[in-house]
Symmetry: C2
Subunit: 496 residues, 2 copies
C-alpha cells in the first residue's frame, strides 16, 4: 500500500471516531437523562484517548516523513496538506500539557457555571489564571511548530491563514466607524414604534414554523433532524446533521431566527463534497467560513424584507394573526439595534463591538502584555468606548459571560465577525451574478442562491486555502467594505 | 502494574466501546434519519474492528497466559473467569471466518426483508445455506476451544453452562403435557366472551400510561428513557437504559404489556452492581436470566389479576372508561390463549411450542443431521403436532418469520423459554419469602419484590455461574415444574 493510501485509511478511521463523538455529543445535549452524565463522560474520555493515540501513532509520523508527493494529483496534494495540518496540530503538544489543559479547563468551566451566577470574579479568576498559564505554553509550542506568532498560532487552529496583523487592520478600521454608526442607528430607531408579539406561542406551532422554513431553505430531513437543547447548535455529521433550538412560548422570534442560522451551518455540512467527507480535505474550511454560512442565511437572507415576506404566510398560519405580526413590524423586530451587555443576544450592528473588545483582550493576554487581573478594568473601558454601556462591577454580564476563555478557547472570537464579513462579501458577489435575487428570495425560491453557495463554498471543502476559496468565489480575498456597506444600507439607508 | 490491573484497564476500555455501540444502536433504531444509514454503518464497522482488535491484542493473550490467580480475591477470580470467557469467545475464531459470517449475515438478512414479504423461500434458502455453512464452521472452532459439542458451543455464547442434553430433557418433558394443555385451555376459553376495547387510543395517552407504569415498577427516568421504534427493545447502558415500544392507536394492550416486559429488562440493567459494571463480571448473567427478568415482570407480575387491578385506575384515567376496560375483561384479554403462526405474538402457553420446534430444527441443522432444504417440511410437521396449526406453503408466517437464523444466531431461541421457566421459579420462591405478595402487587407496591430481585439476581451480575446464581436464590438449580404449575394454575385452575 502506498503511503498516501495508508494516510487515507488512517484518517478514515479517525473520521469514524469523530462520527461517534458528534452523535454522542448531540445525544448528551438533547436526549441523555440527567444522571447518566458520569458514565458518558468516562466513555468520552476513552474516545478522546483513542483519537489522541490515532494522531500520535509512530506509523502516522513515519508516513508523513517518507511520503513522496510528486506523484500525487492536485486534490491529493490538498488532501495531504490538510491531513498534515490536523496531524501537526495534535502532535506538536506534549501529552502532559494536553492533559493538564483538559483538567484545568474542566475545573474552570465547572466553577464558572456557579461563579458567573454569583458574580464571583475573584473565584473565577483564580482558575482562569491556570488556564491562561497553560494556554501560553500551548501558544509557545504551536508557535515553534508553525513559525507563527503566539496568538496567531492559537488563531490558526480555528482560522488557518488568518493573522493578528490582518485582524488588527480589520478592527482598527471598524473602530473608526462602528461606534458612531451604532449611535446614529439608535437615534434613528428612537422615532419608530415596535409592537411586541403577544404569546403564548405553542412550542408545537413554533416547531412546525421552524421545519417549514428549514424545508424552504433546502434542509434535507432524510439526512438530518431538528431537536431541542439548552444551547442551540448544529451538530452531527454531514450525512446526518442534527440541529437544535430552544423555544420560549412568550417569544417566537429568537427560536425562528436561530433555526435559520443553524440551517445555514447545516446546509454547508450537507453540501460538503461527498467523495471526500471521510478526509480532512472534505470537511468545512474554517470556523469563520462556517459562520459565514450561518450568518449568510440569518443576516443576509433571513432578516431581509424579502425573506420575511416569503415566510409571513407560514407565521400567520401557524401562530395566528395579530398586529405585531405585520410584515412591517416583523421587519422592525428583526432589525432593532440596542447596545447591550450580552454578546449572544446582540444584533448584527453591535455584535462586532463585542468581538473586537474580546479580541483585543485575549491577544494581549496570550502575549503576556496584560494579566487576568487586568481584564475587568479593560472590559469596562472598552464597553464604554465601543457601546456606551457601563459594566463596572457586573462580572456576570461582563467579562464572565462567555464560556470560551474558561475552556481555553483563545483565538475563536474573531471568527464570528470574520464570518459576518465573508457573508456580506458573498452576498455582494451573488447580487451581481443573480440580478433578480431579491424577487427570488421574496418567493422563497433559494435554488440559484444555494447552487452558487454549493459551487463556490460547500463543494470545495478544504481543497483550497481560505484565501483561495474566497478569491475564487468573489474575485478578491477578504474585503471588509461589503460588510460596512451592508450595515449602512440596511440600518442607515438615508445616509447613502 | 499487575496483570490483573492490566486486564481491568483493558476491559474498561472495551466497556466504553460497548457504550458507544449501545447508544449508537439505540440512535439508529429511534432517531437516525432514513438516508443516514450508510454513513452510520461505515462508522459502526470501524467500531466492530476496534472491539475485535482490542480482544485479539497479543498483550491481552500474554496477560491471561501469565496471570497468577493465587493472590486474587474470590470476586477477582470470578472477574477473571468472565474476562477469559469474553476473550476466548472472541479469539477462538479466525478473523477471516468472522468477516465471512458478517458479510453472509448482512446479505441474508437484507434479502430476508424482501423475500419474507414475497413468501420467497427459494431465494432465502440460497442465502441461508451459506449462513449455515459458516455457522457450522464457527461451531467446530468453538467446540474445539471449549470442549463442548458443536450446538452446545453456540448455545454457550448466550447461555453459558446450558447444554443440549439439559434442553432435550426439558423439551421432552414439555412435549408430554404442553400440546394437551393448549387444547384444554382453548376448549375452556371457548365458553368465555371477550370484549375488544374500542379505540382510537391516542399515542400520547398510551405513552403516559406506559410512563406511569414504568415509574410504579421503579424505572429510574433520571437514568433512562422511553422512546418509539419499529421493533421494541431494551438498549443503552446500565447508567442510561433506553427502552422502546411501538404504539397502535387501535390497540393499547400490546404496547402496554410490551413496556412492562422491557421494564423488566431495564430494572435488571439498572440494578447491576455499580462498582463492577465496567467489567464482564458486572454485566447481566445470560440471555435466559435477562429474559427471566422481563418475563417475571410481564408474565408473573404484569398479567396477574392483582397487577391489572393496581393499574386499572391509570388505564381508565388516561384512556377513558368503557366496558372492555373492566378488570374482568382486561384479565381475559391478557390471558387469551390462541395457537397462531407467529412466535412474537404468542401467549405464554403456546410460546414454548414455538421455541421447542425452533430448537429441534436448529440443533439438527448445526449438527448436520438435516439440511436447509428440510426446514419447511419439519416446520409444517411440528407446527401441526405442537400447535395444531397448518403452515404448508406459508413461509412468510412459517419458517421465514424470525430474523435469528438469517443473521446466524443459532442457540438463541431456547433462552426465551428458559427465561419463562426461571421467572416462574423465582416467583415460587418469592411467594414463600414474602407471604402477602399478592396484596402488595394489588397496591402497586413492588418494593419488597424488587429488593428480593436486587439482592438475589441484579446485584450479582456474573459473580456466580448461572447454576450457582439460581441455586443461591431459590435453593435449587433450574426446576421446570414451577413453570408447569404456573401455567396450570393460571389457565386451568379447576384442574388443580
Amino acid at each position: 500500500m502506498s503511503n498516501y493510501s495508508t494516510l487515507v485509511e488512517h484518517f478514515s478511521r479517525l473520521h469514524h471516531l469523530q462520527h461517534f463523538e458528534a452523535i454522542l455529543s448531540w445525544d448528551a445535549a438533547t436526549m441523555m437523562p440527567n444522571q447518566s452524565h458520569q458514565a458518558r463522560a468516562d466513555a468520552m474520555a476513552t474516545l478522546s484517548l483513542l483519537m489522541h493515540e490515532s494522531l500520535n501513532s509512530p506509523l502516522l509520523a513515519e508516513c508523513f516523513l517518507t511520503l513522496d508527493e510528486t506523484a500525487l494529483t492536485d486534490n491529493e496534494k490538498s488532501s495531504v496538506r490538510e491531513m498534515r495540518r490536523v496531524w501537526q496540530e495534535a502532535s506538536c503538544l506534549p501529552a502532559d500539557l494536553v492533559k493538564q489543559q483538559s483538567l484545568a479547563a474542566a475545573k474552570c468551566e465547572h466553577g464558572w457555571r456557579e461563579q458567573r451566577a454569583k458574580n464571583n470574579w475573584a473565584g473565577f479568576s483564580e482558575n482562569l489564571k491556570e488556564v491562561v498559564r497553560l494556554a501560553r505554553q500551548e501558544a509557545d509550542y504551536r508557535a515553534k511548530a508553525t513559525g507563527l506568532g503566539r496568538y496567531d498560532a492559537l488563531l490558526d487552529k480555528f482560522e488557518p491563514g488568518m493573522t493578528s496583523k490582518k485582524l488588527d487592520a480589520i478592527f482598527s478600521d471598524l473602530k473608526t466607524w462602528l461606534p458612531q454608526l451604532i449611535q446614529q442607528v439608535i437615534v434613528s430607531q428612537n422615532k419608530q414604534s415596535i409592537k411586541t408579539p403577544l404569546g403564548p406561542f405553542l412550542e408545537s406551532a413554533q416547531k412546525s414554523v421552524g421545519e417549514q422554513i428549514m424545508t424552504m431553505l433546502g434542509f434535507d430531513f432524510e439526512r438530518g433532524r431538528l431537536d431541542v437543547s439548552a444551547h442551540p447548535f448544529c451538530g452531527g455529521v454531514p450525512e446526518d446533521v442534527r440541529l437544535t433550538t430552544r423555544y420560549s412560548e412568550e417569544d417566537f422570534t429568537q427560536s425562528l431566527m436561530g433555526v435559520v442560522h443553524e440551517t445555514g451551518h447545516a446546509k454547508y455540512e450537507q453540501g460538503l463534497p461527498e467523495s471526500l467527507r471521510h478526509l480532512p480535505v472534505g470537511k468545512a474550511r474554517s470556523t469563520a467560513i462556517h459562520e459565514s454560512q450561518s450568518l449568510f442565511m440569518e443576516m443576509q437572507i433571513g432578516r431581509s424584507s424579502e425573506f420575511l415576506e416569503s415566510i409571513h404566510r407560514i407565521l400567520i398560519a401557524e401562530l395566528g394573526d395579530q398586529d405585531a405580526l405585520s410584515l412591517d413590524n416583523l421587519q422592525k423586530l428583526y432589525r432593532q439595534v440596542e447596545p447591550s451587555f450580552i454578546r449572544v443576544d446582540a444584533d448584527e450592528v453591535t455584535y462586532p463591538a463585542h468581538v473586537m473588545l474580546r479580541y483585543e483582550i485575549e491577544k494581549d493576554l496570550i502575549e503576556a502584555k496584560i494579566e487576568v487581573d487586568d481584564i475587568p478594568f479593560l472590559w469596562q473601558e472598552k464597553m464604554k468606548a465601543y457601546l456606551g454601556v457601563d459594566t463596572e462591577g457586573n462580572f456576570t454580564n461582563g467579562c464572565m459571560q462567555d464560556i470560551h476563555w474558561s475552556i481555553g478557547a483563545f483565538g475563536y472570537f474573531p471568527t464570528y465577525t470574520l464570518g459576518a464579513m465573508y457573508a456580506a462579501q458573498f452576498m455582494a458577489t451573488m447580487k451581481k451574478a443573480l440580478p433578480n435575487i431579491n424577487e427570488r428570495i421574496a418567493k422563497g425560491d433559494l435554488t440559484d442562491i444555494q447552487a452558487w453557495l454549493s459551487q463556490h463554498i460547500w463543494e470545495k471543502g478544504c481543497l483550497d486555502t481560505t484565501d483561495d476559496l474566497v478569491f475564487n468565489a468573489t474575485g478578491e480575498t477578504l474585503n471588509t467594505s461589503y460588510f460596512k456597506e451592508h450595515l449602512f444600507k440596511r440600518y442607515m439607508p438615508t445616509d447613502i
